[in-house]
Amino acid sequence: MNPPLDPPLIQVTDLSIGWDDVILQQHANFQVARGDVFVILGSSGCGKSTMLRALIGLERPLAGEVSIEGAVSTRIETGAPPFGVMFQSGALLGSMTVGENIALPLQEWTQLPPPAIFAIVQARLRLVGMQGSEDKLPSELSGGMRKRAAIARAMALEPSLVFLDEPSAGLDPVSAAMLDELILTLNTKLGLTLVVVTHDLDSIFKIAKHCIMLDRDSMSIIASGDPRALRDSSSDPRVHDFFNRSTAHAP
């Protein structure tokens, strides 16, 4: 990769996140290249979801800035959404069926007639293995199904950039593996860029091209790069513990 020729899709400069009384991360600098599968790692509660929300523009940074495709994200709710997002809890609209949830952005931001929208909704659901669930309400779905439906909704507008917050948490191993396949397919076949938060080691080694690891205590990024290389050669005990599932260095 040649940086001057290929500007990063997401550029994070000197970003600090948190709230007035809690600081989660300070002076974070990293970039996500086009076509990357970029994974954000870290122990529970270290601020991964908050970092993701800051990238999306839902959380105002304490300092620093995030720019996506060269534009600093300020108000996300104006105009067609530039990316798809799946939230940790799914966040399907409870008053609408799964189909209506996926159709919602299509109705607003495309000129497609209803039958065409219906076709796309069905195709998206098939993609996540949930064909035939379009008339179910989110409350009638299992946790894992809700997540998959949320991924389908994130994909609705054919975004070139997708954010996923713990897509495979709460899924059975087979569904989780299928999801990894899906992520890889989207990345390699359709050229999608994905930013994924996950804890799942199998999945990290399978999908991630690059990763960053956040740490709560030092409020900084303690490792970045290829996860396989980090596993094999990181000298930082915290990173080593994470990738080797050990508690040898835990306090």
Binding site: L58, T78, A91, G94, L104, A150
Partner: protein, 382 residues
Amino acid sequence: MLTATHPERSFSVEPTASDPSGQQLRLHGSLLFPDAATIWSELRTHVDLAARGGTLHLEMSDVQRVDGGVMALLAHLRAELQQRGVQSEFVGAAAALQEIIHLYRGDVVVGERKRRKARGTLDQLGNATLALLHEAQAVLAFLGEMVIAAIGVLRAPRSVNWKELTPTMERSGADAVPIVLLINFLVGMVMAFQAAVQLKQFGANIFVADLIGISMTRELGPLMTAIVICGRSGAAFAAELGSMKVNEEIDALRTMGFGPMRFLVMPRTLALLLVMPVLTLLADFVGVLGGLVVGLSSLDLTSSIYFTELQKAVSLWDVYSGLLKSMVFALAIGLIACQQGLATAGGAEGVGRRTTSSVVITLFTLILIDATFTVLLRALDL
């Protein structure tokens, strides 16, 4: 220790002097969770007596067993002692016991805690006032945002979620008709009854029509309806938006390009704005009917006399000003409910808190608006 009638205990606590300067508590036997309450209260008395600068070790060499729950209590008491500046450690524990102590952090050093001065009444009063002002500021800022969004909507009317308007009107308007009718009918009747006693004394029976007519249209019709709508729809909006907020649904909407203002707040507020005058008109009407019932039954009036007097007493402006006021009420109910709902944080409990505060703030605001209207109209002689 099988039953309550068998009071023999499997443990005991006994204070002994360990060395000239200090004290220790010698624990014996099995310290198990079923006895936790007794163990706690017994230790508590000793712990409370320990003075700053002294020592109170927990001597464990005669202890056979401790389970997790009791260990947690012991560790807590030890930490509390250390915080108060009393030296306290677990001593003499066997190796197996030592592991449990470690698990419950009975061996970490706890620093002495600085006493924080309790906040005075004046401080608390000041903080509460600031919080109230802060809340008022938030509602006003929200109003500003709404005005800006409304201007945007004039330019692009399609951007509002109109689909939600009709169902919301049905839920907040049509479904509220029975209760609005009932309450206002009763209010009209009760007022007329109270007045009837006085009016009869002066032979001024006919003036019940004036009284009911003016007070229902100008004051009670709009106010009672607003209170009902605040309790029904205001609370519902706050709870609905609140749970959407804590489920990240609002965030999801924003990432799909739907601002909550246009997608959720506008249709709801607009729905209230449209149904409130209609409900208020119905309220005025049944309130007057309530007065008529009393007029017929205990003031010897006929309905034609009652209505003729009503026509003389109540001007069209009385009704209009009431309707105008009801629209301001509608705006306040919708805005405050949505603002509070969207400000929700922190799970189901947060939703409950915001729903409560939305109703309380709205009721307060309604009375404030009502008073302002009355004073203003009086001053302008309208």
